[in-house]
Amino acid sequence: MAVSWRSWLANEGVKHLCLLIWLSLNVLFFWKTFLLYNQGPEYHYLHQMLGLGLCLSRASASVLNLNCSLILLPMCRTLLAYLRGSQKVPSRRTRRLLDKSRTFHITCGVTICIFSGVHVAAHLVNALNFSVNYNDEFVELNAARYRNEDPRKLLFTTVPGLTGVCMVLVLFLMITASTYAIRVSNYDIFWYTHNLFFVFYMLLMLHVSGGLLKYQTNLDTHPPGCVYLNGSRYRHIHLSEYLSEQFRESFPGGFSKPDELTRNTFVKICMEEPRFQANFPQTWLWISGPLCLYCAERLYRCIRSNKPVTIISVISHPSDVMEIRMVKENFKARPGQYIILHCPSVSALENHPFTLTMCPTETKATFGVHLKIVGDWTERFRDLLLPPSSQDSEILPFIQSRNYPKLYIDGPFGSPFEESLNYEVSLCVAGGIGVTPFASILNTLLDDWKPYKLRRLYFIWVCRDIQSFRWFADLLCVLHNKFWQENRPDYVNIQLYLSQTDGIQKIIGEKYQALNSRLFIGRPRWKLLFDEIAKCNRGKSISDLRIFISRSPELLFVNLSPLPCLLHKFLLLGPPRIPLSPQLRDITNLHENSWCFLLWTQFNF
């Protein structure tokens, strides 16, 4: 059991520590601000007017400040890709934190959602209280113009009110379009509404400039709750009320020190009228930094992707896959990274991420992507590149190349698959077109495998259709031969699985003899596989093995999360993480944690 706790700590500890820090920051800000408005003397009169609503709204606002600034940071993808590759983040453990950037973004988003609800509810109550508890004495403290002004007027005719309502509507649109079901089925809605965040931030900047909530500036000359010595009759009545209030406040238990009582009442004498001033909008300080950083990054990406790429060749593969090979000046990428393609002739607004299957090297500047034709964008793109007449032939005739549409790429951006070269043993499981990140890894190994830490690669590829294996059959065979020649036959262990067993499947040709013998019919039997891997790698320590799973969109509803836990059972290592390919467009496996826990308790060690 001690091994398991240590391994859990090694694998998941840093992530949970960061989460704990974030949570404590939120709690701290909420609590501090709540106490400030509840007990602070400069808000005494305001608190009298508004009550609990003031404290809740301001406390939730401070949490919102923090989260609105933090939420932009995981979206600075170029920065994250730079951090992944640079030597400044040496530890693999810290780099694994970067894999969780999208989860952190979602967590901050959910927090913003919840606390916006609290903030709005509290401010609606404040609007009501501003109207009902109109303060005749300190008129400038009021937000309402007269007593019992309709609170709805307050909402719609003040700058904070109106911007607040608009922000709620924008947030409503963004949140309803960001649910898992929408992201999976209609990604476009999610993408276009999420770009409304810019409107949200502009409205936020205006919202805090309203200055409706004021604090008292002259606390020394007018301590809150003080009494006027020379006043009108009204003030006399007030005086007795104040005295009895002081009495009750200072001595809740009973009358025991008359001296202190007199001292207390006489200390608080008003020298002058209270002066109020609006708070400085702290939010500007919070969000300006991350917003500027994000805008700078978008600008950099825009400039970088301004030059179109030169398409060298377009190859049509079986099972609706198209390979595009291109070159671009000064384009560098690491294996496992992805790029975003933008083709104005296909769609002016849409752009789509694709993992690089071939990265540019020192000797060869060509890089490539494999696209699976699934939706309308890819269909139109294919029709532009490969005219329907020649879609069956393998390589496009040279004459057609002049008519290629302009293609822009943005990137490269990092992904967890870059790490597969940094572990001694990597288990790469791919489903369908999800094999693309591993293809770039294999291409890199073909070039030169010695500089990397990787010493053994288990490559498991599950496909539905036998023709799909032809996408990378050549690559796999060449790689297999190379390692045989170099006397490292166990470096890459390939296993191909054909998951659909009904219907007669043609065996792939004689050319791919090495693959034929590694082809299995049916789904992988994980227990046997892990048993074998465990036997061969028993001596390895916790940090040397990692499992990478990259699924295709068709395998969306298959729960692959038990895999790492099964491996855990055999290897007595910590439950490895499941990094997912960006090809899957933000699809997360919701059941990951619950499955791991289930298996943990089942095996009870």
């Binding site: 609606l124 909402l155 509507l169 309803t176 379009a177 079901a181 089925s185 939706g375």
Partner: protein, 193 residues
């Protein structure tokens, strides 16, 4: 842009608006605001909308994720026939339901959100979308009799005849089971190592 199904988004929005209405209504009635009966109305309207919108409609292409336990409400919603299928009806219904809640401060945001979802439903309706219930397909039991087309004529051990039989034998070879006597092109001799 051409293949977006707006109805799914409108459904999420309407569900969220229903919840906002319920929350606002609870705040209004519990706080005993003036005109608190609007609050009671908005709770009722919110519950009705949540129940109506809970079952997700089926997508035109691809599989749809069901909400947890939605099949019970699907049966009820299906009973209304064209009133629940047609999105024009839903758009007008939501617009109508949202108006009374606009009179009270606590529920005014629910009104705005429901109005937006009514607009998106209208957009979905103009594009000809319809609500189709997600029905679970009855599990096809493989009929044992139908799969056996031609029972083998020879008793075992049988020589390989078709590609499919060859495949299953390859699997057996992979797991190390011998495939029985067959015609070997090259005579096999036992080599003792």
């Amino acid at each position: 842009m051409g293949q977006i199904e707006w109805a799914m988004w409108a459904n999420e929005q309407a569900l969220a608006s229903g919840l906002i209405l319920i929350t606002g209504g609870i705040v209004a009635t519990a706080g005993q605001f003036t005109q608190w009966y609007f609050g009671a109305y908005s709770i009722a309207a919110g519950v009705f909308i949540c129940l109506l919108e809970y079952p997700r409609g089926k997508r035109k292409k691809g599989s749809t994720m069901e909400r947890c336990g939605q099949k019970y409400m699907t049966k009820v919603v299906k009973l209304f026939g064209p009133f629940s299928r047609n999105y024009y009806v839903r758009a007008i219904l939501h617009l109508g339901l949202s108006v009374p809640a606009g009179f009270l401060l606590a529920t005014i945001l629910g009104t705005a959100c429901l109005a937006i979802s009514s607009g998106i439903y209208l957009l979905a309706a103009t594009r000809g979308e319809q609500w189709t219930p997600i029905e679970s397909k009855p599990k096809e039991r493989p009929q044992v009799g139908a799969t056996i087309k031609q029972p083998p004529s020879n008793p075992p051990p049988r020589p390989p005849a078709e590609a499919r039989k060859k495949l299953s034998e390859e699997e057996e070879v992979a797991t190390g089971v011998s495939s029985g006597p067959q015609e070997n092109p090259i005579p096999v001799t036992d080599e003792v190592v």
